[in-house]
Chain length 280, copies 2
């Protein structure tokens, strides 16, 4: 199978490693507007060759678009304009309703499958690509009923080759849930980093105190603005709802601290502990 | 050296493993109000024997008190009542001003060293004790000028044997900084867990979507109420200040989302990214 990956960063590059290793792809073509990224990807052997957008799209059985979600809105229709019926196109963006809306009336809509492989790290670029990023994680396929059966089968085989499980969901529900289990975590980390950086501006020594707990809650604050600003933009309404709820949760603790109601604080912590059952 | 550890949980148990492995202690005595914990600690060979409070205090060169911070306030003076001049006592609690206030006029104050080894996990109890928890981390010694030189030297040797670096700081500053680099992270995780649990109450399937990013920001929400409620209680004023600033940071993002000012959101994310320089 020939696979073209448009956008060779953390996600595109990691998919490239997996598909080559597991044999799903025998030839991987990279397309990226940054020649520097393409050169890095060739040097790291993430891709077999780099081609122009048009040639890359023409040469592949499967085209994976792994750019920031704002760029997706432009690129997916352009790719669909160019393809032949036997080709399959998928995106891997973190928001799903906007891209599906953008191509709902495209004549080649059926060749497109909207997906969200739920994995990532706080790093970006082809140098951040790693093997097994997706191993045993989950991919969401959204609004699959708008895609042809054969396109969905190809995409399922692609993700199953990477040892991922597949969930089907409508795109509107996906975007609500993504706001809860992913987007708010990032927003919270960015805000926490800002809070602490602001305070500790003139007191560098203090970061020696930052232990594992701090690192883990602000890890995501290293994530790139180029990826996350478009996600917050496209999923603005859901993110705002969840952010309001999160501020309310914090305000609950605030009120209890003011009242010195530590019994109730203890109860809230025990409630929060129920997250144990959910996280491994 | 004979060491008695009062409170054989995650921290006490992990210290026991380190001090035995590196040879600082040739005999470790466990004291705990839970006989079940002591039995577990013996079975796991964290301690050589368990003794009653009085016998445990009498038998050791060094006495480490590693209980939740509310219990510390009672226990440290009781231990100081019992010791002879050649014995050294230290605590390892996450707040420092309250315990130092509690013993400031104790006749044996000079035998006590207030410390905070900055390491931990979200788990608790002797079963959570692990080797190398403290390796290459940092310990704070607070208000060391109130301790005798020989007590400080013993405590420094103890932590250095565990490959920890040592910072000296006054207890009031410590508690402010701990609010920023540790306590607010926990509060934020508890609140985030509550936000998501509330929403996803009836939609269990959705947690399959929770990826690495989510797990890492809410990991601390598994932390125990028995440990954290007393920390929030003792460090209430500092935690409230930092919580207000954190809610303000989130409110900044909220306002920008409402205004759809994504350029400014992108700038804020880039500002938050500066945390990269601080975290390894």
């Amino acid at each position: 199978m020939k696979v073209t990956i448009i956008g060779i960063g953390l996600i595109g590059g990691s998919i490239a490693i997996s598909l080559k290793e597991n044999g799903f792809a025998d030839h991987i073509i990279g397309v990226d507007r940054s020649q520097e990224n393409l050169d890095k990807a060739v040097r790291r052997r993430l891709i077999d060759e780099d081609l122009s957008f048009e040639k890359g799209v023409a040469a592949a059985d499967v085209i994976i678009i792994s750019t920031p979600v704002d760029t997706l809105i432009d690129l997916v229709p352009k790719v669909l304009d160019l393809i032949k019926p036997e080709q399959t196109v998928l995106d891997v963006g973190s928001t799903k309703a906007p891209i599906l809306k953008a191509i709902e009336n495209h004549p080649n809509r059926k060749s497109f499958v909207a997906t969200h492989p739920m994995a990532g790290t706080e790093f970006s670029g082809p140098e951040a690509a790693i093997p097994n990023l997706f191993e045993n994680k989950c991919t969401v396929i959204c609004d699959g009923e708008g895609s042809s059966k054969s396109a969905v089968i190809t995409v399922k085989e692609l993700y199953e080759s990477m040892n991922m499980s597949i969930i089907r969901m409508n795109s509107v529900d996906h975007d609500v849930h993504a706001a809860y289990v992913s987007h708010i975590s990032h927003l919270s980390s960015f805000a926490l980093a800002l809070t602490v950086l602001e305070k500790e501006k003139n007191e560098k020594a203090i970061f020696q105190l930052a232990s594992g707990g701090f690192s883990s809650t602000v890890r995501l604050a290293k994530s790139s603005a180029a990826m996350w600003t478009p996600i917050f933009s496209q999923n603005r309404d859901n993110v705002l709802d969840v952010l309001d709820e999160h501020i309310n949760s914090l305000a609950k603790f605030r009120t209890l601290l003011i009242k010195k109601d530590f019994n109730k604080i203890s109860e809230l912590i025990e409630e929060a502990n129920r997250i144990r059952k959910i996280l491994k």
